[in-house]
């Protein structure tokens, strides 16, 4: 070890707060003999000998932390400060100093490699995030969306072909007008006149038929594409971790799954082809216009180029306004949802008027933003109509003069104005599509944003199957915090034998529920591990974990449906006999059988038609039916009266037989039958030696 230390020089880039209150760079250097604190220029600010140093510790300040070191005389000094983004680096520096003090240099530090304040993976991740998307990435994203339309490519191509035919047909009427005037009306040729009118009618009928064909194709594939997108979005939502939902309001996902999928299906099934075909049509008309009269056409093209430049500038503003409106609608929706969910509290605390006032504010913001958006586009439509009218007037002015001079036929002027109107309508149509395209792109953004969200708790690439679980649990050096830098559990070590009944006690905030949430793998630990039957939970197949680990929550959540549906929630294939057996064991059968509709009674939204005790017993039956090897009870009787608790307790006794059981309870007597009590305090286990009988006895005394 001494030789290693002699050649080691470990560097930790850290941050600190300057006297002026700014975040500044610092460097902690650990050499074989001393710790050096350097400023950004490399000047040594402070030195302490390795043998004088006692310990290093992290001091949370709220959304940040100091690294403080103490010497053997008990004097302390802060050597670094880190915001949340650098907490890992700060912890790494602390560990490194601790190891260094204890002559326990390991890993890369032994080779003198610098240890960065943040892992290189973290930095690469941040760097990636700040870069604009490359063309390849953009194509990849669009192709991810395009794959929804891919199964229907034949129908989409057919639809595009039909549209092309429609375009070709639409070119015919203005030319026929010219022929009708110049070859039929003016020379008074009845036969030619009748023939041309017949041809015109045929074109109109064909156009109508093709429109029907195209719409029917769109209807068929549109709904299927939407369904596919919704399915993927919901699959993703279900696969995301509990933590994802803790940080977000769930209400807006309803809108996203419904509306965004709807918003994008139009774009994929007909939007892109429509834009392409309409552009093609506009180009074709433009060619015809140039053939008819290139000088007037040139004038028109110049005017259009100016209009397009203006539109190009309008485009991003429109998108921003749409985004802002979407944000306001989101906040409004979130507010309504929250208020209605808490309607009892609102009424109990007489907050009706205040809530109405708040609603008005959210609503006004939403309306104001909608008006901003509409005002901005207000002038666009009349402006485009004015441009069309002016262009037609210009054609009549220049074309009419040429007809009067004999340089152009009257039919040609009619055809020219008709083609011009068509062309400008195409541009207007493209503008409408572009607006819809913008809205669809926003939907696409949100869809992809969700689909690209990485699940924090994900299945291992090579999951270990566990068809049978004995239920031996080993917790090793476990640390976890919901927020960076604030550990709720610290260095927890625990061994639970298969079939053992454990009670977990501790004050509120001691980390009891957090520990069982980690056991259920709702979260992954920040440090350390949990093993069941020798397999780390992160390696264990999630389906097996869920099958073998059952939990009765403190807050019972029942889904709208029948009692039978709710009991069979984890085992949809359960027979009525199994459902009744589970309900009997859970002491729920008695009250269920007295209900007019028995097991077919609808429990209402979140089980609102049932009492707290009834809901709890149904949730116990639900877990019993699952027949888990490891049973977790999170204050399962905390919200019921003594009589109900006694009945539930009896049910739980049934439930615990032959299983590893971990129970949290505030009422001590409910833990008297446990083999061992684990006492938690401030995230650490302070005792795990007493039996339930001993512990409860002490509590009673």
């Amino acid at each position: 070890m001494a030789s290693v230390l002699a050649t080691s020089r470990i560097s930790h880039p850290v941050k600190d707060i300057s006297e002026q209150g700014k975040l500044i760079d610092r460097m902690v250097i650990l050499t074989s003999k001393q710790l050096e604190l350097l400023d950004a220029e490399g000047n040594v600010l402070w030195i302490i000998g390795r043998r004088e140093l006692d310990k290093a510790r992290i001091l949370d300040t709220g959304s940040g932390a100091y690294l403080e070191i103490s010497d053997l005389r008990g004097e302390s000094r802060r050597i670094a400060f880190s915001p949340l983004s650098g907490m890992r680096g700060l912890y790494r520096c602390q560990r490194s100093i601790t190891d260094w003090v204890n002559e326990d240099l390991k890993g890369p530090a032994q080779r003198g490699a610098p240890i960065e304040s943040r892992s290189s993976a973290d930095e690469k991740w941040d760097e990636e995030k700040t870069k604009p998307l490359t063309l390849r990435q953009r194509i990849r994203i669009i192709s991810r969306l395009a794959h929804y339309a891919l199964p229907y490519r034949n129908q989409i191509l057919l639809s595009a072909g039909v549209l092309l035919l429609t375009v070709a047909l639409e070119m015919a009427p203005p030319y026929l007008f010219k022929e009708i005037i110049d070859g039929g009306v003016l020379p008074s040729s009845n036969s030619k006149f009748a023939g041309l009118i017949g041809l015109l009618l045929t074109v109109y009928i064909l156009q109508a038929l093709l429109a029907v064909v195209r719409t029917s194709i769109s209807i068929r594939i549109g709904s299927q594409v939407m369904s596919h997108i919704r399915k993927d979005m919901f699959d993703k939502l279900i696969s995301l971790s509990v933590r994802f939902y803790e940080r977000r309001k769930t209400v807006h996902f309803i809108g996203r799954v419904q509306n965004d999928a709807n918003g994008i299906q139009g774009l994929l099934t007909k939007g892109i082809t429509s834009i392409l075909v309409q552009l093609l049509m506009a180009c074709s008309i433009l060619v015809i216009l140039f053939i008819l009269d290139w000088q007037i056409s040139l004038l028109i093209v110049s005017a259009i180029a100016i209009s397009c430049t203006l539109l190009w500038r309008v485009f991003p503003v429109m998108r921003s306004l749409m985004n802002r409106k979407w944000n306001a609608d989101y906040w409004l929706q979130q507010y309504i949802s929250e208020t209605l969910h808490g309607i009892r509290v609102v009424k109990a605390f007489h907050r009706d008027e205040k809530e109405k006032e708040l609603f008005r504010e959210y609503n006004e913001t939403s309306v104001r933003r909608m008006m901003d958006q509409q005002r901005y586009t207000l002038w666009l439509k009349p402006g485009i109509s004015l441009a069309i009218s002016t262009s037609v007037a210009m054609v009549w002015f220049f074309g009419g003069r040429q007809v009067m001079n004999g340089a152009m036929s009257f039919g040609t002027v009619i055809a020219f104005t008709a083609y011009l109107s068509m062309f400008l309508e195409q541009l207007q149509g493209n503008f409408r599509i572009t607006k819809a395209f913008n809205a669809s792109l926003m939907s696409a953004d949100r869809i992809l944003e969700l689909l690209h969200t990485e699940a924090e708790v994900s299945e291992s690439k090579h999951p270990i199957a566990m068809p049978v679980m004995r239920g031996e649990i080993v917790v090793k050096s476990l640390a976890f915090g919901y927020e960076k830098g604030i550990n709720v559990l610290k260095d927890v070590n625990l061994h639970i034998r298969a079939g053992e009944k454990i009670g977990i006690v501790g004050r509120s905030g001691a980390g009891k529920t957090t520990l069982i949430h980690l056991l259920c793998r709702f979260y992954d630990p920040d440090a350390g591990s949990i093993e069941i039957d020798g397999v780390d939970l992160r390696q264990l197949a999630i389906s097996d974990l869920r099958r073998h680990v059952g939990i009765v929550f403190q807050e019972t959540y029942l889904f709208d449906g029948t009692i039978a549906d709710n009991i069979a929630f984890g085992c949809p294939e359960a027979s009525p006999e199994q459902i009744i057996a589970a309900a009997r064991q859970a002491n729920a059968h008695g009250f269920i059988s007295r209900l007019p509709y028995g097991y077919d009674t609808n429990v209402g939204e979140r089980g609102e038609h049932l009492s707290g005790g009834e809901k709890q017993r149904i949730s116990i039956a639900r877990t019993l039916l699952q027949n888990p090897s490891v049973l977790i009870l999170d204050e399962a009787t905390s919200s019921v009266d003594i009589e109900t608790e006694r009945e539930i307790q009896e049910a739980l006794e049934q439930l615990c037989k032959g299983r590893t059981t971990i129970a949290i309870a505030h009422r001590l007597h409910t833990l008297s039958n446990t083999d061992r009590i684990v006492q938690l305090d401030k995230g650490r286990i302070i005792d795990s030696t007493k039996s339930g009988y001993e512990y409860v006895g002490e509590g009673v005394r």
């Binding site: 707060i17 006297e19 209150g21 700014k22 975040l23 001091l59 300040t61 709220g62 959304s63 940040g64 100091y66 403080e68 004097e75 302390s76 000094r77 802060r78 400060f81 915001p83 949340l84 983004s85 941040d126 995030k129 700040t130 870069k131 604009p132 998307l133 990435q137 994203i141 940080r247 977000r248 309001k249 807006h252 921003s320 985004n323 802002r324 979407w326 944000n327 989101y330 906040w331 949100r446 992809l448 944003e449 690209h452 969200t453 927020e483 960076k484």
Partner: protein, 177 residues
Amino acid sequence: MSTIVNLSGTIAEDEGTHDWLSINPSQIRFTKSEGGLLQAAWQGMRGTVTVRRLFPITRGDSYIAIADPEGNEWGILLSNVGLDELSRAALSSELRVSPYLPLIEGISSIRRRFNHYVWVVDTDYGQLHMITGPIYEITTNLLNGSRVITDLDDQKYLLPPDNELDKLSRKWIGKFL
């Protein structure tokens, strides 16, 4: 009887209805140790203390919890008004990171990248980069028109009302928020 800061922000007489210990600013002394730790002396107690703003956003200079390093609370300092100058300076410097909540003084840019937004902001801690999720998910509106922005690290930033920001910042806010 001591003074308390009531909801309108003024100091009122404490009726003594609470069960916590209020600390009279004139009776406590704060100093900084050579190592940068905050130390206090109050009613015979003396030593290193930790301080926490109980209302860091709405009442930054009032209701400051004083505790020993193990978290045992001495009491609550109702206001920093009345502290001697040295004590106030020592306390203020400690409270700068309690919590670490940068105040955004200006927005240099907000760039939309796929799935997230990259902000470059000038704060009272200097220029910072932050990466956030979708804008609608990361803002919390406060009653005074300020907003709290939360980045992907859960770090919070205080964004003052629009009228307190410069034109460029308002442009960025107008574009995305």
